[in-house]
Structure formats: structure tokens, C-alpha cells
Amino acid sequence: MAAPSQQKVNTRALCDAPLIESSGVWSKEARMMASARAQASGLPQRRDEYWKYTRPDAFVHADVTLQASQRSSLGLFDQRATISVAFEDGQIQAAALPSAAHCTLESLSSASGLDLHWARDIYGHLEAAGQKPVQRSLAAVNTAVAREGLLVNVTGAVAAPIHIQATSSGQSDSTIHHVIKVAPGAEVTVIETGQYGARSNIVLEVDVADGGRFQHIRVQDGNERHMLTHIFGKIGAEAVFKTFTLTAGGQLTRNECVLQLLGDDASVSVAGACLGDGDFHHDDTVFITHDAVNCESRQVFKKVLRNGAVGVFQGKILVKAGAQKTDGYQISQSLLLDDDSQFLAKPELEIYADDVACSHGSTSGAIDVQALFYLRSRGVPEAKAIDLLTLSFVAEAIEEIEDSDLAQDILDHLTNTMSAQ
């Protein structure tokens, strides 16, 4: 495919005239500001430091020639009672979204046309806050042109997880923008499974007020697809924010997570596990800012790579002056199942307070031969033994999931995925 001219990219990507035309006051304002942000910073370039290990080209090309395929996570969490929302090729299915106690669910497409909406205070605002110190212009593009997304206003403890199930076929190109607002003391779990498009640009903005709890579990699958996601989180005092992503498929994935701890005694966890085989490039880019006292943040990433798969981790903990008693933990590890695969890690700490405990580590290793022999000596065939050791390798990331039932579902899914390979 020939590279599109910069001109073509800009006009097509940064502004969507009919969308602006049909937008109500609040979203028009947000979209136009986001478009200006994106234009000011320009699209990411290969030479950008922040895109050192992952080429941005695939995300900025004008045309997609990918072919989305069958989801492997289909049926996952089916045995759990969930509040289900289906996306098909980037469109929300069903005219009326489900209703549930202590929360409201709306679609961006319908809320966008209104002049006033609660999402106004969040939509594009957390994304804009996340543009410093590093520009994330593709997230600004998303705010400018996203046509669909789920808007959830959580006012109490929502009993069942909200489950977004995304499917796509053919060559769809999806830009989706979700907004979740968790009121003081409210709680919700949001699950996302599948793929929104052959190529997708997904933004999730989450505002967790004081004492709120937000849990996010995501399963990314598919084969020939490219996916760029951003999570922007603003976390209040004594609030809890946890996100876990399992990626088992897809040629190209970049998951960015930008969190700001703004209230004292809050705790966040960003975790992920991926299984990459062959034509697979997986990037986790995390930026956590501690701007309050006595907060805890954890980053736990485990990547299993084989047949030339590539894993990337860029993770930063920024502790601002005054963010005393910060407890920051960051671990990124890869299990390389052969010599062809690669793991590139760039862990960073930037600390301006003196009373903090931050630790970070990054390792790359092969299967432990002693453990492998031990298992085989008990009659476990080699392939199965490698699966068991792989599971044991990713266990630390899965343990970050708070809900033990959902964690078990993830574990079972992983086991099935591996034995199917």
C-alpha cells in the first residue's frame, strides 16, 4: 500500500464536518478543541521518541486493508450475569441500551446531538490532560471524530459487570470513545471483549470520584487487526482503579494508559498479559502521575512471545513534589519461547518527593529448564508442561484482577486458548 500524503491524512482524520454539523453544543465544543489539539501537535511520526519501538504508520494510514476475523473470546463471561452491550462494526446494537440500578447507559451517538450532557465535563478533558508531557495526538483525533461509544454514569454500587462485546467483520475502521463517571463511593466493573474493527482507535475516559471503585477487564483477540487504545483516568481520594488486559491475538496492539492520582490514599493497578505468536506486535505504554499523598500504584505486565513476536513496554511513574508516601511498583517481564522473539522495555521513574518507595524491574527469560524437567519427569508432556509454566508466568498479572470469579474465567480462557494453539 502506498503511503498516503500527509495532506490526505490530515483532512480526513482530524475533522469530520458532517459530524460537527450534527453535534450539540457540548460535543461540538469538545470535538473542535480536540481537532485543534491534534492539528497543533501533528500526527505521530516514526522518529518520535514515544513511538521508538512501535511504528505509528499503521495507525495513521488513510486506508485499511485488514480483514477482521472470528473472535476467539466469544462466549467468555457468558456464564456470569452481566449488563450486556454489543458493538458491531463500531455501531451499538439495539435501540435501547439496557438499564440497571445505580447507573445510566447511553450511546455517544445519541448524547452527542444534545446541547447539554453530564459527559461534557469529562469527554475530551481527561484526554487533554493526558497530552502532557507527551503528546498523544491520535487520542485527540479520537475525541474529535468518534461517532460512537458508551457513556456510563455510575451513582452507586452496580451489582453486575457491564460487558461490552465488540465484533467486527470485513475491513471496518472504528473510532470509539467511552466515558465512565463513578460518583463518590460508587462502584462498577466494566468488561470489554473482542474487536471493534479491523482497525480501531479506542479511548476510554474514566473519572473516579473520592471513594469510588472502578474495575476494568479487557480481552483483545482477533487475527489480522490493528488496535490503538488509550485509557485516561482521573482518580480521587481513597478511590480504587484497576485495569487488566489480556491480549491473545491481533497483529498490532498498542495500549496506552494514562492515570492521574489526584486525591490522597488512592490506589491503582494497571496489568496485562499477552500471548504473541508470529506476526504479533504488542505495546503497553503506561504513564502514572502521583499528585497526592499516600497513594499506591502497581504496573504488572507479562508477555509470552514466540515465533518472532515482539513485545514492548514503556512505563513511567511520575511522583510530583508533595506526593509523599507514594508506593509505586512496576514490573514488566517477558517469557521468550524461542530466540526469534523480542522484548523491548523502557521503565522510567521520575521522582520529586523524598518520602517515597518505588521499585521497578524488567526481565526477559526463557522457560526454566529445571521446572520443565520436573514436570516432564512426572509424566506431563513437553507442550503441556510449557503451557503450565506459561500460565504460572502470567499468574502475577492475573492476580491483579480483584474479582476472583472473573479472574478464574480469564485463567480458563487462557488455558483453552493455549491448548487450541
Binding site: 516432564r376 513437553e382 503441556k384 504460572s392
Partner: protein, 251 residues
Amino acid sequence: MLNIKNLHVKLEEEDKQILKGVNLSLEPGKVHAIMGPNGSGKSTLSYVLSGKGGYEVTEGAAQLEGVDILDMEAEERAAAGLFLAFQYPVEIPGVGNMTFLRTAVNAQRKLRSEEEMSAGEFLKVVRAKAKDLKIDAEMLKRSVNVGFSGGEKKRNEILQMAMLEPKMCILDETDSGLDVDAMKLVSQGVNALRDENRTFLVITHYQRLLDHIKPDVVHIMANGRIIKTGGPELALEVEQNGYADLLEEIA
């Protein structure tokens, strides 16, 4: 049961000969003990028999019930009935002890084309056997050997052996690190499995284990060879006099 003929083994990576012609013939129903100075090749023999990589057999053969095992994969040898209780059991973080045991039991059954053990039956059997070895439910739930004390690891090895019911059991210094009571438990576990169709090869440095697990035959290994074979009295002799006299005899 197990016949070892003129077994020569060197390290794959370096030119170091460790076993220099081991001959052993272990009959069904018997308990054989091997004693010998540190570094004489006892663990190496047990590893080579069970299929660990890193060694090269340069000469000789080993047959389990008449079948050559040295070309088999480790898991095939296990399914054929060979079991090694490790001198240093391996810790596997993240793999639950129960999952491990059940996977092993069913993998062996599958390799032997037998029916798998149901979850319910497995649970029943494992609980009973664990109880005999004073392994509590909490230990069964933990990751394999992780955070286990030295003695707990050894008891866990015996639990695996009891679950897998191998024909040929090799125990490499299972007594090391055991307190007096644990030694009794482990020995009871072993003795409970003794029958006319099962053979044990017990590697140990001390007579005290052999007080509990009474051997039929005792071998002395030194410098990669079996230098002397005798009855239980040979172990007592070693206990009293050490290896000096025996080594002199062959020098």
C-alpha cells in the same frame, strides 16, 4: 525390573565423564540402596535414568522391564512407570500443587491409553494420601513446592509417588532435611507402597533411613562406578567406618 549395563555418561557441554560403567540389576519387589561419597555420581545416575537433558550416554544401556529407556522422553519414562523423588524438588510459582498432581496423573494415564481420573475421585484419593503424610489442605492449594520447608518438599515428593503409583521408584536423599517424625511418615509412605511388583532404589548417606526402609541389597558407589554390593550389613559398615577402607580395597 530395571537393568543397567555398563552405563557410561559424560556431561554434554564439557568433556567430563561422570558415570564410568555402572552395572545394576534391580529385581521386582526388592529395595536396593545406594550409598557413596559426595560427588560419586548417585544423583547423576538418577537423572540420566529419568531423562534429564545435559548428559550424554557414551556407552551402555538401561532397560525397564526389558524395554530400553534411554531414548525415551522423560514423560514416556514416567508413563512407563519410572519415578524419581528429587534430591532438590523444584519450586514452580503459579502452578497449584493440586493442578500439578492432577495434570500428572491424567497425563500418564493418557500416555498409557487409560481412562482419566475424574475430578471427584482424584480429590478423594489425594486427600486420603495427603492425610497419611500429614500434608494439609493449605499445602495442597499452594504453588508447587513454593514456600515449602525442606521436609515439606520431601513429603510432597512422596505424595506424588503415592498418587502416580510407579513401578520403579528412585529416591534421591529423600531423608535429607527430614526431622525424626517426618522420617517416620515418609518411610511409612514408602513401606505402604512396597509390594512384589514394585522396586525401590534408595539413595542415602545414612543408616537411619535404612532402619525404617529395610533394604534387601546395598551398593556402594564411588567415582562413577558401583564398587561393592552386599546385604544390609554393608550400610552398617559404612556408618561405622566411612568409605576409606572400601576405597582402599579397590585402589
